[in-house]
Symmetry: C2
Subunit: 256 residues, 2 copies
C-alpha cells in the first residue's frame, strides 16, 4: 500500500511560520505536497482568480516533500494542486496553521478555511488549523501538540462527506489547556469596522478594522466560549449551506 498523500496549504503564504510547523508535523506520515500562496492572502475567503492567469513556482523538493508557491488565492492553490500537480486524490488536506483566529463567523472570511472547504468539495478529509495570535512569531507549541492528535484521527478515521473541521487554539500556556471541545460556530458579527482617514490630497479613505460582537457569550457550546475558557475549539463545518428546516415554510410563502 502506498504512503498517504498529504496536501498542505494556508493563507499566510508558503513561507509563514505556521505552515512550516504544519509541514514538520505531517512529514513523518506520508508524501507531502505543499501548494500555498506566494504572499499573504488573509481574508480571501473562498475567492478564486478568473481575470488573470496563475503561476506555480517550485520552491524546494526533497524526499517525500515538494513545496510550491502559487500566485493566487488559497482556493486557487488547492485547485492547481489537485488538477495540475497530483496524480491521485490526496488522503488528507491540512490548511494553516493560520496566524489569527478563524473561530465564529471568521470561518467564512478565512482563506485558510477556504482551502479546507475546497478540499471538502473534492471529497478529501480536510482540516483548517488556526492559533488566535496574528503575530508572525506566534507560539505554535500548543497548536502542534493538538494538531497531531486531530490529524492522526482524521487520517485514520476520515470525515463524513461534506464535512470539514475548523480548529482554533487559544493563546495560553500549553500546561493550562483543558483539552479539546467539539463546538458550534458562535453566532455574532463584526462591528464598527472602519478607520476613516484623509489622504494628502484631501480625499477620504477607509481602513477595515473592528471588533467581534458575540451574540451568545454565555453559550458554553460555542467555539468562542471554548477558546475563552482554555479549550481547543473544534467545529465540524458543513459545506452544503441549505437551511433544510426553512424549505417548507418558504414554499408556503412563495407558492401559496
Amino acid at each position: 500500500m502506498s504512503k498517504p498523500l498529504i496536501l498542505v496549504s494556508n493563507d499566510d503564504g508558503y513561507n509563514a511560520k505556521g505552515i512550516s510547523k504544519l509541514i514538520d508535523l505531517v512529514k513523518p506520515y506520508g508524501d507531502v505536497v505543499v501548494v500555498a500562496p506566494e504572499k499573504g492572502e488573509s481574508g480571501m475567503s473562498h475567492a478564486i482568480t478568473i481575470k488573470r492567469p496563475l503561476r506555480l513556482t517550485k520552491i524546494s523538493e526533497e524526499t517525500n516533500l515538494r513545496i510550491y508557491s502559487c500566485s493566487g488565492t488559497p482556493v486557487d492553490s488547492v485547485k492547481l494542486a489537485l488538477n495540475q500537480l497530483l496524480d491521485r486524490k490526496p488522503d488528507i488536506l491540512v490548511s494553516g496553521i493560520n496566524h489569527g483566529s478563524n473561530a465564529s463567523i471568521s470561518v467564512i472570511y478565512s482563506g485558510t478555511m477556504g482551502a479546507a472547504i475546497e478540499g471538502c468539495f473534492n471529497g478529501i478529509p480536510s482540516i483548517g488549523f488556526s492559533v488566535c495570535d496574528h503575530d508572525k512569531d506566534a507560539d505554535f507549541d500548543l497548536a502542534v501538540k493538538y494538531s497531531k492528535i486531530i490529524f492522526e484521527d482524521v487520517l485514520k478515521n476520515k470525515l463524513p462527506k461534506g464535512i470539514c473541521l475548523n480548529v482554533n487554539y487559544p493563546v495560553i500556556d500549553i500546561n493550562k489547556v483543558k483539552g479539546i471541545k467539539i463546538c458550534k460556530q458562535t453566532n455574532g458579527v463584526w462591528k464598527e469596522e472602519f478607520d476613516k482617514r484623509t489622504d494628502p490630497y484631501g480625499q477620504n479613505y477607509y481602513w477595515l478594522t473592528g471588533s467581534f460582537k458575540n451574540a451568545e457569550p454565555d453559550n458554553t457550546n460555542t467555539d468562542e466560549w471554548a477558546l475563552a475558557n482554555n479549550y481547543v475549539a473544534v467545529v465540524p463545518i458543513k459545506v452544503n449551506l441549505t437551511a433544510d428546516n426553512f424549505i417548507d415554510k418558504l414554499n408556503n410563502r412563495l407558492n401559496d
Copy 2:
C-alpha cells in the same frame, strides 16, 4: 412610519446591466442606497480587503436613490454601507442581479452571495439574485418578474435569523417558466479546471476554467435540477455552517 431602507449591491460592478435592473425594480418601494464594486469582482466570495485602504465614490444622487462605487469587494461594499453611509439598519438587502449562475456550490465562490451573507450576519433580510447567463447583455425579463415577487415577500415577511436566499434563474423564454421551486444546494464539484499555457518567455501559466460535475443529477429537490427543468430555483442558505449532527460522534473520537 418611514419608508423602507433598501441596500443594493452586487459583484459585477455598479454599472452592470443586472444591478440597474434590480435598482429599477426596488426603487418604488423605499429609499434605495447602492454600494457596489467599481469593477467586476466575480468569484470574490466573502473576501475582505485588509492590506490596503478602501475608497467610496458617489456616482449619483436623486430623490430616494444614492449610488456609490467601492474600490473593494462586494463584502467590503456592504460593510462600508452599513458602517459609514447609513444611519440605520436597512430593512432589506438585495444583491445582483448577477450575470452568471450561483447555483449549487457556486454559492460559496460568489461575490454576489458574499454580499447577501454579510447582510444576513448583520440581521438584515438578504437575497442574492442571479441569471444563468454570463453575457453582459443577458436578458433579465424573467429575473425581474420573479425577483419582484420574492422581494415583496421578504420585505413583508422578513427571513428567519441566520438565513438568506440564493435565487437563480434559468435561461429560457419567460413564457416557459414553470414557477418557483424551493430547493437544496446541489452537491457537486468543479472539475478539470485549468488551461495550461506557455508565455512568450517559456514559462507556464494557468487559466482557471472547468465544468461543474453534478453529484446528484437525478435529485429533483436540488437547484441544478430545478434550473434544468425550467423552474426558478430558490435555496434558503444558513450562515452558521456547524454540522450539528456530527458533534457527538466527533466528540467520541477525539475525547474518548
